[in-house]
């Protein structure tokens, strides 16, 4: 029933989505091991699904308080750019199970699809170091911005009453317009991805 038996990497991910992972026991371990997964354990390539679209990755963690306090902001940005840019929540902690993430996303009213990036493929591609941190890729799949969402937090426990900059919003708009993003990086405040397993 599944005619594609190990073609090229990106395409096989799509095939898995269609056929179901368990049905393909002959898939080489190396392919399984580096791809981000959705919450059903299926490999997903966030760049393949919407070719030619701007992709926004938001690195988050269920137990990071700053990451959680950003949930309403992230939801608003998602709503603002719905239909224009593809948003993904990326969970880089291998220790966070799919069911824990699912519960978390329900509690925080996220309708953005979630990925478990347990092998840090997306972390590396985005140069992400912190949760929460955002990465914006233009329609050609090129990283045009990575860093904080805005300047609400200056440090742990030190936040402004309201942010005075909107780096992520700006980066998405310029990426949609096909213009260069300035700045292309701004340090985020939150939990260290390098501490994770």
């Amino acid at each position: 029933m599944c005619p594609w038996q190990i073609p090229m990497l990106r395409i096989i991910s799509m095939a898995f989505l269609f056929c179901g992972f368990a049905a393909l026991p002959s898939v080489p371990q190396t392919v399984r091991s580096t791809s981000p997964e959705n919450l059903d354990g299926k490999p997903v390539d966030p760049f393949a699904s919407g070719s030619g679209r701007v992709v926004v990755l938001l690195f988050v963690r269920t137990d990071c308080p700053i990451s959680n306090r950003y949930a309403p902001t992230i939801r608003k940005l998602h709503e603002k750019f719905r239909g224009k840019a593809d948003f993904w929540l990326v969970y880089p902690d291998a220790g966070e199970s799919a069911s824990r993430i699912r519960t978390h996303d329900e509690q925080f009213h996220f309708v953005i699809p979630a990925l478990r990036d347990v092998h840090r493929e997306l972390v590396k591609r985005s140069h992400a170091t912190i949760t929460p941190e955002a990465a914006v890729f233009d329609s050609a799949g090129k990283l045009v911005y990575h860093g904080r969402i805005d300047d609400w937090y200056e440090d742990f426990g030190r936040s402004r009453a309201a942010p005075t900059t909107q780096e992520l919003d700006n980066a998405i708009r310029t990426a949609l317009d096909g213009k260069p993003t300035v700045p292309d990086h701004a340090n985020a405040v939150g939990c260290y991805i390098s501490d994770l397993k």
Binding site: P65, N68, R69, A71, F108, R160, Y192, D195, L196
Partner: protein
């Protein structure tokens, strides 16, 4: 007929009170190695765990406010770089005072050696080390930390914390259903979801005065700072607080807190939205003791709010205050308080010989980590010592905590965008053989006069000074001070009532009636005003008016024996004997020992024997 004199002491005390919290004892042995003692290989089991158990785990364990647990090797390893970063910059553990002040209980300042251990642990590869060297992990009890409370009170209604937005300050009122006065040795506060509650402060409201701010009974009300009224000189001498990770304080013998029937407990909670909509419904556990209070600490408030007028953009604005103690005191605890613009706080003592000693110094103030700081040992501050408060404020846009962007001119006030410059000291006055007055009153009177010197427009200071003067019989000066308070807040029901009461005590009856009428008009449900007006009218011989006011008083507070007794007396004067007997008997039902009711009933029986 006899009428009681003013039974409700019309003088009230107003206190602006704030958001307290504190640190308490933790049971792990301190280990503060200096840099020479750093081992060649740092391991979790031997070197890191003792620090984490002592300084981090009380908040960072399941069910507590810390967002993730820090107990096991795996827990700590998964935040290792973050811990090394936040400890190196003294962001964690949260401890505001620098090391140049008095020695404080539970000082959680990490030494340079301890901080270096975290750095080296990472450099060495976050090793677990030999598990045999690991101390037993601290055990934490869920539920009531002090055992089953004698009384548990739950907030009548939950408060919904929004998913996003700025910090929220909400007040819950707990009605304490006591039948008789009790002494309290501890109060344990369960604020609800601890991740949302930054800290909370509990106040005793002896006159249910805060209930007026509730839209409906039990609903609670918003507000960062509270003002509560008291009918007698009964200043709060305790800091009742909650902050994450701190077990409740058990008051030492003799320092118990008195709780009377009808008292409310107010919980002022500082809440922080978590990213999802949540609701909290705090509860408190009260632990009684049979040991009555024998020592009466006082909370002294130094402030200079009048000097708080910070130009927009000013990054180094100084506010200071100096108060000279009129008697010897033992300093027990310090609570510095300001809002978001304050940067640096210094409190020092200048002794009579001119020598100075730093009491507390906070070089980087953070409202979020405010606390009550208890002294490791009481500090004697002799009579003539001057307490000096120096606070510096940064109202520039470089201060990221600045609630206004761009910065605005900021003055003193209760809102988060306003500022405060307060230094609270918990002191135990040392009674002097030379002065028979309550040593607390000597302190508070000196302080009220000091506040008025600082700021002639200080309403609370005039009001409280008046109340104290009235209590010690200086009625004429009390009236002047009430008049000053009234000039600052024209038509204020509490002041009108207090001034009316003072004039009544001074036998200035027409003036008393005018002010009491103003009080009852300003606040028609004000029992004290109607009661006192009833007494004033009776004193003036206007018994129909007296009966009318006292009828209103009885309706407002049906369980008040004094109101019933006086209403009975008024009806007796009007010749309405049956009504008189009815109300006098009610007074005796409410209070079988009510002398006025007994006396008047006997007088009635003498005049008109029972049929």
């Amino acid at each position: 007929m006899n009428f009681s004199s003013i039974k409700q002491i019309p003088a009230g005390f107003l206190a602006v009170t704030i958001v307290f919290s504190s640190f308490v004892a933790v049971s792990f042995a301190e280990r503060k190695p200096n840099s020479q003692q750093i081992p060649s290989h740092v391991t979790f089991s031997r070197d890191i765990a003792p620090i984490v158990f002592r300084y981090c785990a009380s908040c960072h364990h399941a069910g507590e406010a810390g967002p993730f647990p820090l107990i096991t090797y795996g827990d700590v390893k998964s935040h290792a770089r973050q811990i090394a970063d936040v400890t190196s910059r003294h962001l964690m553990p949260p401890w505001l005072p620098s090391q140049d002040g008095l020695r404080l209980e539970d000082d959680s300042h990490l030494s340079g050696g301890q901080i270096a251990l975290f750095q080296k642990w990472i450099a060495d590869g976050v090793l677990e080390g030999n598990r045999d060297e690991l101390l037993p992990a601290p055990k934490f009890t869920s539920g009531w930390q002090l055992g089953t409370p004698d009384l548990v009170l739950k907030a009548a209604a939950a408060f919904d914390v929004p998913a996003s937005g700025n910090d929220v300050y909400w007040n819950f009122i707990f009605r304490a259903p006591l039948k008789s006065s009790r002494f309290v040795r501890a109060i344990e506060i369960h604020p609800g979801e601890k991740r949302l509650v930054h800290h909370a402060n509990l106040l005793v409201d002896r006159t249910q005065s805060a209930r007026r701010q509730e839209k409906s009974p039990g609903s609670g009300f918003p507000g960062m700072e509270l003002q509560i009224e008291s009918e007698s000189f009964d200043p709060d001498g305790h800091f009742l607080f909650w902050k994450p990770g701190s077990p409740p304080i058990v008051e030492p013998a003799g320092l118990a807190l008195r709780l009377d029937p009808g008292n409310d407990l107010l919980l002022n909670a500082h809440l922080q939205p978590s990213g999802k909509a949540e609701s909290i419904q705090p509860s408190i556990g009260v632990y009684f003791t049979d040991q009555p209070a024998t020592k009466f600490p006082v909370l002294l408030q130094l402030d200079n709010d009048r000097a708080l007028d910070i130009p927009a953009g000013d990054s180094n604005f100084l506010v200071s205050d100096e108060f000279t103690l009129p008697e010897d005191v033992q300093l027990l605890a310090i609570y510095p308080h300001a809002h978001y613009l304050c940067r640096d706080m210094l409190a020092l003592a200048r002794f009579p010989d001119g020598a100075e000693k730093t009491l507390i110094h906070i070089a980087r103030w953070e409202l979020n980590w405010q606390a009550v700081f208890r002294l490791a040992q009481p500090e004697l501050l002799p009579h003539g010592t001057t307490i000096v408060m120096r606070y510096r404020y940064d109202n520039s846009s470089d201060n990221i905590s600045n609630p206004s962007n761009p910065p605005q001119r900021v003055r003193a006030g209760n809102r988060a965008v306003d500022e405060m410059a307060h230094l609270w000291l918990q002191v135990l006055p040392v009674a002097s053989a030379a002065d028979s007055r309550d040593p607390r009153m000597i302190l508070q009177e000196a302080l009220a006069r000091h506040h008025i010197e600082n700021n002639p427009d200080d309403f609370e200071a005039h009001y409280n000074l008046a109340a104290m003067l009235q209590l010690r019989g200086a009625t004429r000066e009390a009236v002047q001070q009430y008049q000053s308070a009234l000039a600052l807040r024209a038509g204020d029901a509490a002041v009108e009532n207090a001034l009316g009461g003072a004039l009544l005590a001074w036998h200035q009856i027409p003036e008393a009636i005018a002010h009491l009428t103003a009080a009852a008009t300003a606040r028609p449900e004000y029992f004290d005003a109607h009661y006192n007006l009833g007494i004033a009218q009776a004193t003036a011989g206007n018994f129909p008016a007296a009966a009318q006011e006292l009828t209103t008083a009885v309706k407002l507070k049906p369980d008040d024996a004094g109101a019933e007794a006086n209403l009975g007396a008024a009806f007796a004067e009007l010749g309405e004997t049956q009504k008189a007997i009815l109300h006098l008997n009610r007074a005796l039902q409410l209070d079988p020992g009510n002398a006025l009711a007994k006396e008047n009933l006997e007088a009635l029986r003498g005049a008109a024997p029972q049929r």
